[in-house]
């Protein structure tokens, strides 16, 4: 019974959301607010039950002699709550500094090791068919090299506006980079449309199958 009720509620909410195609209306706003509110409420419950209780409160409650170091993150977390009042907000600065410091250190180190250096190395490719493996791979590598150089030149803002051969060369590569980026943005947009169509199909399967029972 509860499953049938859930399906009906989900189906009605789906149709209400699609009613936005007609025009903005109060029912759509109601569904929108329900979605936002339930998402925030669900996130709060997940943080309480999955994070705070098992990883902080329970170790403290079970054996305070062993779990006393957990008082430090608890204290830092409580200090963050002072950000709600401007007069005592400065008390939370140390917690924020700790969060940003650790986060920045991990992010920078990871970006260097996981993205920056490997991607620079991966862009060092051969454009000769003999060493690239095939003509197709060589053409692919040429496109990669042209796109990389052009995109870098496009963001070389301090050069290219004056006269001279060097500025003209940078302007040429900047134009190439602009078109490479336009093609990339077009690909992202096309993929996004494809993703939205996938969502529409999934909803259609739900309405026609789970709700109306027209599809097995």
């Amino acid at each position: 019974m509860s499953e049938v009720l859930t399906v009906w509620i989900a189906a009605i909410l789906t149709l209400i959301v699609y009613s936005y195609l007609l025009a903005d209306n109060p029912l759509y706003r109601l569904a929108e607010h329900l979605f936002v509110g339930s998402s925030v409420g669900y996130a709060a419950v997940v943080i309480l039950h999955n994070i705070l209780r098992p990883r902080l409160l329970e170790p403290l409650a079970q054996d305070a002699g062993v779990g006393w170091p957990y008082i430090i993150p608890l204290f830092l977390g409580l200090l963050l709550l002072t950000k709600a009042r401007t007069t005592i907000a400065w008390l939370g600065n140390s917690s924020l500094a700790f969060l940003f410091g650790v986060g920045a250190a991990l992010a920078i180190g990871g970006a260097l090791l996981g993205s920056f250096l490997p991607q620079i190395q991966a862009s060092w490719v051969s454009i000769w068919p003999a060493t690239a493996g095939s003509v197709e791979a060589a053409v692919d590598n040429v496109c990669l090299a042209v796109g990389t150089i052009g995109t870098l030149a496009y963001f070389y803002f301090t050069m290219g506006s004056g006269r001279g051969a060097r500025n003209a060369l940078i302007r040429f590569w900047a134009t190439v980079g602009k078109w490479v980026m336009l093609i990339t943005f077009g690909a992202i947009f096309g993929n996004r449309i494809m993703g939205y169509v996938s969502l529409l199909i999934e909803r259609a399967y739900f309405l026609l199958g789970d709700w109306l029972g027209l599809v097995g």
Binding site: I47, P54, N191, I201, Y205, V215
Partner: protein
């Protein structure tokens, strides 16, 4: 050198007044009070230390009525309006107020008089009086700078006649400007009156009462200096255009009568036509149960590589699966997760599920439980879920570093023992996060299924085969369908491909028709 802000004349360093026009000089740090040497901000009109006035008396555009100002010792003196500091015969109220002010000043004890006021007393010396006499103009006489050059007299007289013939009304001169009129001033001013000595140099030569330092009592409460205004020529052009637009009367909106033709009917219902076409392209293949893609859909190399990476896993190995998506992309990600988790369970590997999004933890739990039930997997023995991992980089590091420790899992002792990381990412940031925080530091092999939106930004990692950043990559619902076909277990993704293809064909046709219609309209317009 200090340049005067009023006349531009150069003065030597340390000067407080301009040697040319007599205005207070504004240094780099502000204006120095000539009475007490206090350095004031450039914007003030009176000294913040002693109250001495720092701007000329004559430049006060305020036309507010006189107000009462309190003197220190309780005496009340009627304030003097700035533009009327030059006394006029018929201005009885102001003359009385000035006399009262003089009486109050005289009534004060001699020792209470400040030094700067003593200096003012000494001003009308004999030498100054003789100079004043020499520079004083006769009634009706204009100073040199106001006299019209002979070559312009004829032109001005003609212009004056033309103006009189056209009946142009005379301009209204404000009272403060009227007070500066040299002829009238000379006609009423008597020696010894409060008008002060005439100017000796500069453009205001011969005019009384325009400059000088006076105590704060003489400053009207609303006195303000006129800031210098300058703007580039194009600003004036813009101002003229704006003024023209503002002054132009609003035209009444014309009633547009649109003919009810077939073209306008189609234009108004075009939105519904597009909705109908897309809905038909989605619903008809679903209702018909067509499965053209199931037999004909090609599998791309990146999806094939992902399948092979999982197919090569030894039995009983441990795989870490991260479900980093939300309901907004669940339509793409859940079919991917079902296809891959099903394949992993058929390979008899043990699974550790985590999520970097709160919603992903719940959605993945439903998917994994459903597939596990179909494959006879037991929670805790064959798979488990660590739930939502909060803290982004730090949280992810704490999870993978905590394997084997207290509160961790006994599936593996350390992250290096994990055979493969399978990442389902609704956004490219999650792929990058796992690559930067887990794959690169610990060298764990990794494959990824991403949403269609995330594909262009995640694909460079798959292309970097030399460093094995991503061993395989599948994209969107299409990637899930390819995986189902390659695995030989058709599911929802593969069944959706006919609808997906039909919608894509419909959209391409709509774009073509729209562009042709637009082109035709332009050609007809020419």
């Amino acid at each position: 050198m200090i340049n005067c802000p009023h006349c531009g004349a150069s003065n030597k360093d340390g000067s407080k007044f301009c040697g040319d026009c007599g205005q207070p000089l504004i240094t780099r740090n502000g204006v120095t009070c000539p009475m007490c040497d206090n350095l004031n901000p450039p914007s003030v009109t009176a000294c913040t230390n002693c109250g001495a006035r720092l701007i000329p008396v004559g430049v006060t555009p305020s036309e507010e009525p006189l107000e009462l100002l309190e003197v220190e010792e309780g005496a009340v003196v009627e304030g003097v309006e700035g533009e009327d500091t030059v006394a006029e015969p018929d201005d009885r109220g102001e003359s009385e107020s000035l006399e009262e002010f003089a009486d109050v000043s005289e009534a004060e004890p001699e020792e209470a008089m400040p030094p700067w006021l003593e200096k003012l007393r000494e001003l009308p010396s004999e030498e100054a009086a003789s100079e004043e006499e020499a520079t004083r103009l006769a009634p009706g006489e204009l100073p040199d700078w106001l006299e019209v050059p002979p070559e312009f007299e004829e032109v001005l007289s003609e212009a004056g006649r033309a103006v009189e013939e056209e009946g142009v009304p005379r301009a209204e001169i404000p009272s403060w400007l009227e007070a500066l009129r040299p002829a009238e001033e000379e006609g009423v001013a008597e020696p010894g009156e409060l008008a002060g000595p005439p100017e000796r140099t500069g453009l205001l030569k011969g005019i009384r009462g325009t400059l000088g330092i006076e105590p704060i009592l003489a400053i009207p409460p609303r006195a303000a200096s006129l800031p210098a205004f300058s703007a580039p020529p194009h600003a004036y052009e813009h101002a003229e255009v704006f003024d023209k637009v503002v002054r132009e009367p609003a035209r009444p909106s014309a009633e547009v009568v649109r003919p009810r033709s077939l073209e306008t009917l189609v234009a108004s219902t075009m939105r519904w036509i597009i909705y109908l076409i897309v809905a038909t392209a989605v619903v008809v293949p679903i209702l018909r149960g067509s499965n053209w893609a199931e037999a004909n859909m090609p599998v791309t190399a990146s999806t094939m590589a992902m399948y092979d990476a999982i197919e090569d896993l030894p039995a009983d190995s441990v795989v870490l699966v991260s479900h980093d998506y939300d309901p907004g992309v669940a339509g793409e990600m859940i079919p991917q997760a079902k296809a891959v988790v099903g394949h992993l369970m058929r390979r008899q590997v043990r699974l550790i599920n985590v999520s970097l999004t709160p919603e992903g933890a719940r959605l993945s739990r439903e998917v994994v439980d459903e597939v596990a039930e179909a494959h006879g997997y037991e929670y805790g023995d064959d798979y488990l879920s660590l739930g939502y991992v909060v803290g982004v980089e730090a949280g992810l590091r704490s999870i993978v570093e905590g394997f084997g420790g207290p509160g961790g899992t006994d599936f593996v002792d350390r992250i290096e023992d994990v055979a493969l990381v399978v990442e389902f990412a609704g956004a490219p940031e999650y792929v990058r996060l796992w690559l930067e925080q887990v794959q690169a530091p610990y060298g764990v092999p990794m494959v990824a299924g991403v949403s269609a939106t995330a594909d262009p930004l995640a694909r460079p990692y798959y292309r970097n085969q030399a460093q094995h950043q991503l061993l395989g990559l599948m994209t969107g619902l299409v990637g899930a369908a390819e995986y189902e076909r390659r695995a030989g277990h058709p599911g929802l993704a593969l069944a959706s491909m006919d609808s997906q293809s039909m919608v894509h064909i419909a959209m391409v046709l709509l774009v073509l028709v729209g562009n042709l219609a637009y082109l035709g309209g332009r050609l007809r317009g020419k």
